[in-house]
Symmetry: C2
Subunit: 373 residues, 2 copies
Amino acid sequence: MSSLTTTHPAKGLEGVVATTSSICYIDGEQGVLAYRGIDIHELADNANFEETCHLLWFGKLPTRNELKDLRERLARERQLDPAIVNLLRTAPKHITPMDVLRTAVSALSFYDPDQKSNDHEANIRKAIRLTSQIAMIVAAYDRIRKGGNVVEPDRSLSHSANFLLLLNGERPSETAERALDIALILHADHELNASTFAARVTAATLSDMHSAITSAIGALKGPLHGGANEAVFLMLQEIDKKGVDPVEYVRGQLAQKKKISGFGHRVYHTEDPRATHLRRMSRDLGNTSGQGKWFEMSSRIEQFVKSEKKLNANVDFYSASTYHTLGIDVDLFTPVFAVSRISGWTAHVIEQLDDNRLIRPRADYVGPSYPQH
Amino acid sequence: MSSLTTTHPAKGLEGVVATTSSICYIDGEQGVLAYRGIDIHELADNANFEETCHLLWFGKLPTRNELKDLRERLARERQLDPAIVNLLRTAPKHITPMDVLRTAVSALSFYDPDQKSNDHEANIRKAIRLTSQIAMIVAAYDRIRKGGNVVEPDRSLSHSANFLLLLNGERPSETAERALDIALILHADHELNASTFAARVTAATLSDMHSAITSAIGALKGPLHGGANEAVFLMLQEIDKKGVDPVEYVRGQLAQKKKISGFGHRVYHTEDPRATHLRRMSRDLGNTSGQGKWFEMSSRIEQFVKSEKKLNANVDFYSASTYHTLGIDVDLFTPVFAVSRISGWTAHVIEQLDDNRLIRPRADYVGPSYPQH
């Protein structure tokens, strides 16, 4: 192919730099993750999700007044058009929540007051709106499919507390609110992960925010991306149900050449810095809720896989037991990932559009030979 | 960034080979396009859209019996769940058809009998189903928004003739049927164009066909991709309305440093081989319909831009006048592109899943410096 500048296919684009970005710094060797130059450990220890959103969207942590303003803007957007609620009500009850979320977010574009605008400020407004609306959709669909009522939002609550209220019908404890908030901070961004990259590829045709986020949700749905913590919990559940020793179970799986979900990462070659916080949350929530068994099982599996396969637990491994202990159904783990990652997705779409170039790689043709004339 | 194998960002991934593929061969220097080793000129002259679908999905042109079988399978799928038609009816009437199409295709996943399956055969069935259903959605929404009735499909007709029947409420002439069929063949695939790449990025997390196609539709919506022929026609319409000389109009636009849509291509550095056929179709349809002015205008602009800017007309330039002469509204040009490209998108998703690897590039971090500890 004469017009290509490189001819060696980079399968999966592993190690290929697709763009510059000011949003997320990852050092896979040192186990460092930072948003806009601020270390994830500092954010997990000292910030809340709204501050993290401000950091991602505006490039810096907010002042007290800026935080108040953003919290108010997010709270004002806690509303869904009745047509969206109707879409959730009429979706067949057996449907994967991610299919419903993808469809509902695509339909949100019908009712967005900035639908025709794709400029920076309009996209900031859409980012705020989508962050509020995605949390509402996830919670409302879970209530609807279980035959419950859709809970009215409380605009005085934080984003995390309001989400847990909408999901469970009652105000969460401070511990639960903080645990979810930390989980949302930890999942908010991760550079060019597959869903964020799908969002940027879509946006780069100068399409729009809703198209880009719909693509991201579709990509996040896949078990190689958002589905991993779901697989982790299904494994824990099976071990629990069978009453077997977790280490023996995992040893058996490895002997059958089966992959253990929640370990290893394409980018991190040391501990995933997010795992550190999720491990602690899983332990603390287990202790306070009387459901310590999930953490204990997880911890023994982690030590075994580490010594046996030299693989580190990743962000998904301890989020499984954490989410379960927070009362989140296993098939909502990936939607809750979207409730967080919408902050990073929207920041990346805005960055892409601020200095856009169509993303269009080439393929190395290996099919039937083209007839020579 | 120590873990990267390349550090020079390939902005827009231009010239980067992202995968091997057996579907589409492009030689941008020689102006060659071939699907599965068969030249686009041969297909445009001798094949129909159903044969092209068979070629893309199964890797070879069909025998007479295989073609009969595929035509029957496509015809059997000419049905939409009433919930999808209801979604089209309840969408606000001012919405861009691409937003409606993206949402409706996402919702099709709710009703797909293979919803839980992601294997090769299930995805072939989804490809056939989506090819029939996307054509029906585009036509039905256009009827509904204009206050018309949804037309019953005719299972004895070809894909192209049935689409024109559903759109216009009457059987098309043989000339119109063949013109649309050639347009669908020419647009069916184009290697890793942005929408196909979005579909593959989404599928590569082991997500599903509907998620991947929803991403593709979102990407196609952007004016740097599917929107270009729409921009071409709006220009022709403005020239016609103002009664100005087309060459003077374009000269004025170029003097103001404005870009003329429908010229140049990232991949082709010579004539886009698809433009050859669309130019002829635009001319022939103009002659037989008494609407020759659109072709004449286009032809004069093409010659001027070629001599002035050394840019060749691309696939979009003559599809504008062709589609208009076929009675297709300007904001349906991009949806009609999807009616064709669904064949290539689905072929690429199936190829991706047959030998999958997560598509996850890296970014070169240029943001605030990460604090050293």
